[in-house]
Symmetry: C2
Subunit: 228 residues, 2 copies
């Protein structure tokens, strides 16, 4: 009997004097899960930051994992929809005889997520989702299915775009390319520390260009590089 996705108060009513508890819980949890981590964040911290009651979490989301799942689904669904739309557009052109340029495929995959990172209300989520790659925990495996469709569709598209690569090589390079994207999402704010302050800040649009250029060059690297 949880009001999962139902019964928002009628729109256009104005400030809604305190009715959007659900929304405020999602916002607060998103920020805290990103800033600390899922395990390090307590429901007490979430409800305090949201100005809500402790019991509200269980009422609206059933459990802490349910809260995490809701935080995650709220933002990943639009992103994945946009990714699939862009991929479909590229594939339509491909069917019409226009071969897909690797850089455009990378942008179709990465730009929707990186766009979020530069919007004020999406920065926390970007940091959070960047850790999906490497952070262990049940909260992640419980939402892993949301990646499947996009992942396999893009893997197929990359395989068509790089037909000369042996499958195992392609697999590892895609792993690297997806990994760089996640690392950027998770840690862009730390890059100054990591590179020893070598680079100044870069405008976010330029960072996307850098990311795409780096990943494309890596994917296109000559195969069979000799060792030491």
């Amino acid at each position: 009997m949880l009001p999962r996705d139902s019964a928002q108060p009628p729109p256009g009513v104005g400030p809604v004097p305190g009715a959007d508890t659900r929304q405020r819980l999602l916002d607060a949890a998103e920020r805290l899960f990103a800033e600390r981590s899922y395990e390090a964040t307590s429901l007490r911290q979430v409800t305090a930051a949201a100005g809500a009651n402790l019991a509200a979490v269980n009422y609206h989301f059933g459990s802490k994992q349910g809260l995490f799942r809701a935080v995650f689904l709220r933002r990943i669904e639009p992103i994945n929809t946009e990714r699939m739309g862009r991929l479909a557009a590229l594939e339509a052109g491909e069917a019409a005889g226009q071969p897909v340029v690797l850089e455009e495929l990378l942008r179709a995959l990465m730009e929707p997520a990186l766009d979020l990172a530069r919007q004020e209300d999406g920065r926390w989520f970007a940091r959070l989702v960047g850790r999906a790659f490497s952070e262990p925990g049940e909260h992640w495996t419980a939402v892993d299915a949301e990646f499947h469709e996009v992942r396999s569709a893009f893997v197929r598209a990359f395989a068509r775009s790089l037909p000369h690569l042996p499958p195992t090589t392609l697999g590892w390079r895609l792993f690297f390319a997806l990994g760089v994207q996640c690392v950027l999402l998770a840690g862009a704010s730390q890059h100054q520390r990591i590179t020893g302050g070598l680079a100044g800040d870069l405008a976010p649009e330029v960072v996307l260009d850098e990311l795409v250029a780096f990943a494309a060059a890596g994917l296109r690297a000559p195969a069979g590089e000799p060792g030491t």
Copy 2:
């Protein structure tokens, strides 16, 4: 008055019937911190896995963070020593007129850590250290200083090896290159899931080659890639 690094029982005595509690605690904590996470691991789980008493953690390491720090330092110091040694060798050749090849610089940085990942007793630590890049938490900032020396030495070497790159571009690309390494350390076991089973398993030596080839190509990508 903690026996931080003192008084191991005399070597050559044999099984040491139960005297190496400290070592067993480090091993158990390393595995659990890597498998779950620092926050998700309780000291009770650690001591149970180590066959030790709960109070032993506080006796040997002072606190949970002290335990983490000890787990970390035990392995990172030899790795960083080897990295600096290899870098010094490359720089000696450089001073003698032999320019440093980018791939060799990358191998000097990455091979010591990836070697660990393929040794039975280093696999857990590899997974753990791979998350240093993106995982938040005080336990990480408390050991961050251990990276400084190696980081800045290699950043300078990369800058000399890629003199044509503007500093900001170099900064981002190094961020990406270091990020790919961490992603591989943290998630090599997950790469099958992520790439949709496209790639079979690859022998670890070959993975290093793939990583170096990918990162080198990314670092050398033509600058000023045009946007969409």
